[in-house]
Symmetry: C3
Subunit: 559 residues, 3 copies
């Protein structure tokens, strides 16, 4: 492993360096652990001081390995460390291997093993924390386990926005913000939204071509075929790409899974596939509309539901009153889409089962979202395209009931009309939906509109009148237009502006709270308590903490 | 404009006047703005000091026009103002025109324009805030805009009672409590409750006359006609009066609209009108039961629903978990009444649409009210007649379903029996309903009982038995008795005791919190923060705020 | 009354005794009041000091009788009391009569009267609180009234566990923990769960014997008869025992009624009886399936519902968002069981009424439980057998609808499938259900499984297929197996290990918070506020409170 020695002079300047500014990149210690075999390259604009700082983080990492709670202590310990020259070499090595490690932390476990081994060697050098050395390996293993499952509360604390995809200003992230990450790390689960959007369009154009109510349009079935093939191509490419991400960056996928909003998108692959099966052109139907297909496609939905709905029920940070957000509809709509497919393959009873499960949980989600409980941390303050999800579930429930029971009866109508009212309700607030930056997630917001169009076509079949047909036509055109616009937009972003996949900051939040930022916001009383703990934990940190404690005491008194 | 000069001696006594007592009528500044052409008349018991105080408010209004936030600063500035004699004349003028201005602040905008012009002249005089003079006009326009839309939180903070119609002791109001306001200002939107009560009675007696289940009573259709004409007369007179209020005191209506409980009563005019159409005597039916009537009557309901339900969904002080209260049922019941009318005019599909919309929102309201979320600020602690609203919606839903689908089937029965159980549940708690002061709002609580009677008659038609007929008869008699009692009560209050319309305090709460009262209740820590802000904002206020700050510091330490 | 004098020396040692340790048994004062005619017997391990302590509690009880709020003051007063020798004799008397009083406090009122009279005599002795003596009698009457209705908040504060049956460590109870209480006091209302479990088993084996779908099993009707007789025997013995508790320890039953979880079990007797009626063997059906039976059995259910649902709606500590917990299903399931019985006795309309009432409240309970509102204090953190209650209500609703309307249609299926999904959802978490100590309450968790089996048999009749029959068979066997295991377990606990009825700690919590424990947990700021109050209230306590206040001030500053 190449070693790039740092001059001792740099180390001495640490004391001059203001303590406050150092605290901000507590996460650096995590970066330091990922050191492997990449050449030293000082980050842009950072220079010697940045390298220096990283060096210190490495030193700190030892104390942090004892427990996440003792992080504050290590921050104190850091200041005195550079005075002992021992950590120089090791620090430099870490520095040299740092940049590669940034991304490898999201690698699948086997990859991490290699990293861990390399890390071990580095750590053998600087042993000024002799007493703590024994617990090193066990603690590190624990650390990596913790890094896998970020608590739900952290996502709410560190992220913001209706999709929880933006990092709060006070938070720092594990990966460098100022460079482009590997493609697979930037490929979010939300990309399956493209398949949802295109899949429902294929169904829509199939319905427009075959529906008796829309016969006056004389739509060619070829359009259905073309869009279906496009949807299939999109699904295959997105799936393959995500499969690669699964293979290479499994830890990143774990983090997406623990993300309170993104977890709902894990239903998207199955639902997209079911859309493909439902919208298959006539000649491919015998293959797609087979009970076996249904079984294969519904299995992951049921399993994921048992998991997610169980999380809602069991107390904790993922209870429904905390995580409910418009994208929760995605975890309910799967039941209704599955019910449609079940009815199409001839398993009415299975369809009724899914419909009932969907109904029970739709009720909970609908009421919870409408109440806008103050405990719901993921709920966006303002309206947002994600609210179109509200339309998807009742539309799908309406179609599913009509498909299962063979007629568009009172239950179907009730759900359809609820969807229609919600559509109107969002439509009149359309100006709220403007001014948002385009992202792949937008695709997920098109399939509700298309589902509503499909339900309207079903309704127009049941109640053929000028009004119903006109409504079906206009809603269909609107959804197709929006999907076309999104398609063009996506292609432009992907191939012209090369900006389709920005860094996926949401997966790279730190596991523990950035202590410094937290301290700034916390109450002074808390701090003074911490002081005593620090004092007890580390004789090294005693003096500085008392000094800091003194100033905090003042704060306490003036507040 | 007549000018009544105040003696300078009065102005000098301001400094002697204790500072604390002045703070209480911060709202006076608003009154001051409304100065017009009324003769000077010192308020009863106030005398010179009251006039003096009003004078100061006028002076203060200049600084307040900068922004509502700087209100505290202006309170400080007030103390130093009288030392400059310039504001004397202007102040006196304001004083002279004050009492008229009290009520004109609720005038419609055009009326305000005149006032504003008059006010402008007054303000030209005292220009000791030269630097702030430039922003005067713009700021004033903004101020008046703010005064229009009182934030929802203010209503909860300033009012109490199940109908949020009583002012908390700690709050002050914009209008004088000790005199009778203009009639139109005391005429609340709740008066349409009279039309609801009489309209449903007309329907009830029509049903009693025509229903096969009630044929044994031999009720004459003439009673229906008589009550219907009475209801029509009541509707016309209430509508005309409220239209006048709309023309002359539009600002008061805006404040009723922003009131979290009253806003639901804005559905009442349309619903009352629909009741009239449904209960129209046979000979007038061809006119009333025409699709065009339905379209005209349902339009405001739909528009208001899009607005109100949208507020429930979007985050803020008007989200469902905050504003849910029994009168929210009024904003849901409109759908079901509209569905009944739609079915009567022959538009079944429109009826089904409204029924579905009503169902979805009824579910949310019902569950939310039953949970009694702790976040719901408008929910009365104790039972109250307003709880009878609980009966209205399921009864109306039951009748609507039966009317649309032509039979009293399982769905109708389910809703009917829910209504019946809630009726029992409230009936056994009837002693909770006593001891409340009569008000016009009581009328709104009669129509649920009548609707339940109507649903029972429908049920007795479907299940003709002794029990069902006896129930229908007794519920009908009970509702008619209560409506009769209320009618007599209302007539007595209106024409004998002249106490039907007390001052409508709820519309006259101050927009910003009465700072002094608030400060008393707020935490000491907040205050010390404010001190620093004051110090930064106004050099004039510096000394006094520091002095006051010192006393607050003491409070902090002793607490 | 025998008097056992304590030596004055013991009293003097109070001052040496550390103050902190004394504070822990504030509840002793309540025990002291219950002094009657039992021989003096120092508690095991307590010896002279314990007797001494009890003595002090008695003295304290005088000051406590003034108001519950002045409890802290009395704690101070206690320290100075022993210096006056007057309380010696009286204290000894109380000590002498203490142990009998322990249990008699839960006696029915007439019994309490005797105790109160005896107590009065004791209190006549030590009159060193002369000024407060006048209010003694009235205050004591109030105290005993308070002891009857423990506020709901106290149960949440003092108890823990999913059934709120374990006392928190910080809390003390009114009865001795270290000895076995009278049998009736240890006999909880939850014992009716045995009848629920056996009753549904009787119905299940009747259905297995008679159902066309299960005909291939050739189950003998004799099994139904045998289990039914067993269930009847269990019901009679449990009822008789509980009736005795009702007669002798009515106060204990009141405390069970006010317990937020246990109150739901008051529905169990009626429901168990209805199960017996529904599952009656063919020859006894003419007697059991008579409308009069239904009327008698449903009356307590309806009355209790009016009470409980009313509590949910009216604001307070028992509102739904606070008390909702899985056992709330018990208060809903009664409607559906009643609906089944109503349909069996031929009163379809009554069945529909109950079904509608059940639906409305099931909706509220289901949504509330699924949301897991943070305000719900009774909700267990972890999964627990009590969650099986989730299955009971939709199963019963499904059976009820099918019984009323004569076919297993879409509504029945929807509810059945919801139950089935919840069953799966809990089944995959089965490992959560292990590791709990057996208790009688477990019986209540078997009847949901049996109800689900019954619904599955109904479903298998409607959709006869291999899958449905296999499901019905396996669910039936599973529920029977678990009931058998529980039966064996119960018999072993009852007759071999003699541990079926441990002390029922939940009913013996103190009415007021154990002040000392609370203070330890409360914020320092609170304490310093208290100091001032103490100082104002009691001149006696002034010095010590100031001294203590000083130390608390220090705590405040170091925190």
């Amino acid at each position: 492993m190449p070693s790039t020695p740092c001059s001792p002079a740099n180390h001495r300047c640490v004391d001059i360096h203001p303590a406050r500014s150092e605290d901000n990149d507590d996460l650096g210690s995590l970066r330091g652990w990922q050191s492997t075999d990449r050449a030293t390259m000082p980050p842009p604009g950072g220079g010697v001081q940045a390298a220096e700082r990283r060096q210190k983080h490495h030193s700190r990492s030892f104390s942090r390995q004892i427990s996440l709670e003792s992080a504050r202590m290590s921050r104190e310990g850091r200041r005195s460390l550079p005075r002992s020259g021992k950590s120089l070499g090791g620090g430099a090595c870490v520095d040299g291997g740092l940049r590669k490690g940034d991304f490898s932390m999201f690698r699948t476990k086997s990859g991490l093993g290699v990293v861990a081994a390399a890390r071990k060697e580095n750590e053998a050098g600087p042993n000024n924390h002799a007493g703590e050395g024994g617990a090193l390996h066990g603690a590190r293993a624990e650390e990596s386990r913790v890094s896998d499952s970020v608590p739900a509360g952290r996502y709410f604390a560190a992220l913001r926005g209706p999709e929880l995809d933006q990092v709060r200003d006070s938070e720092d992230i594990l990966l460098p913000k100022d460079e482009v990450w590997p493609f697979l790390l930037r490929f979010p689960i939300g990309c399956f939204g493209i398949c949802l959007g295109l899949g429902t369009q294929a169904i829509l154009w199939g319905a427009l071509a075959s529906s008796s109510a829309m016969a006056f349009l004389h739509v060619s079935p070829a359009i259905n075929l073309a869009i279906w093939l496009l949807a299939l191509a999109a699904f295959v490419s997105v799936s393959v790409t995500y499969a690669f991400k699964c293979v290479f960056y499994f830890e990143a996928i774990r983090r997406e899974y623990f993300h309170p909003v993104r977890v709902n998108f894990f239903f998207a692959p199955s639902i997209a596939c079911m859309f493909l099966a439902i919208g298959a052109p006539p000649r491919m139907r015998p293959f797609f509309l087979h009970p076996a297909t249904w079984c294969v496609l519904i299995a992951p939905v049921i399993l994921l539901e048992l998991k997610i709905y169980g999380q809602w029920l069991s107390g904790g940070k993922r209870r429904l009153c905390k995580v409910a957000n418009p994208s929760s509809h995605l975890s309910v709509v799967g039941n209704f889409v599955g019910a449609i497919l079940a009815a199409r393959v001839g398993w009415q009873e299975a369809g009724k089962f899914l419909w009932a499960v969907g109904l029970a949980h739709y009720l909970c989600v609908f009421v919870t979202l409408y109440q806008r409980l103050t405990t719901s941390e993921a709920l966006p303050k303002e309206l947002h395209p994600v609210y179109s999800m509200f339309i998807a579930t009742p539309s799908a429930a309406s179609i599913a009931w009509a498909t299962i029971y063979g007629e568009f009866d009172a239950v179907s109508r009730t759900f359809y009309f609820i969807a229609l009212f919600l559509y109107c309700s969002l439509f009149v607030r359309i100006n709220f939906f403007r001014g948002f930056k385009f992202s792949v997630a937008w695709w997920s917001y098109t399939f509700p509109m298309t589902t509503a169009s499909l339900a309207t076509i079903k309704y127009a079949e049941a109640v053929p009148s000028f009004f119903s047909k006109a409504l079906a036509l206009s809603l269909s055109l609107m959804s197709s237009t929006i999907v076309s616009l999104l398609l063009v937009s996506t292609l432009l972003h992907a191939f012209v502006w090369k900006s389709l996949f920005p860094n996926d900051l949401a997966i790279a939040i730190t596991i523990t709270k950035d202590r410094n930022g937290a301290t700034k916001r916390s109450k002074a009383a808390n701090k003074s308590y911490d002081i005593k703990r620090w004092a007890m934990q580390s004789p090294l940190a005693l003096v500085s903490s008392i000094r800091r404690g003194g100033s905090e005491q003042e704060e306490l008194e003036t507040n």
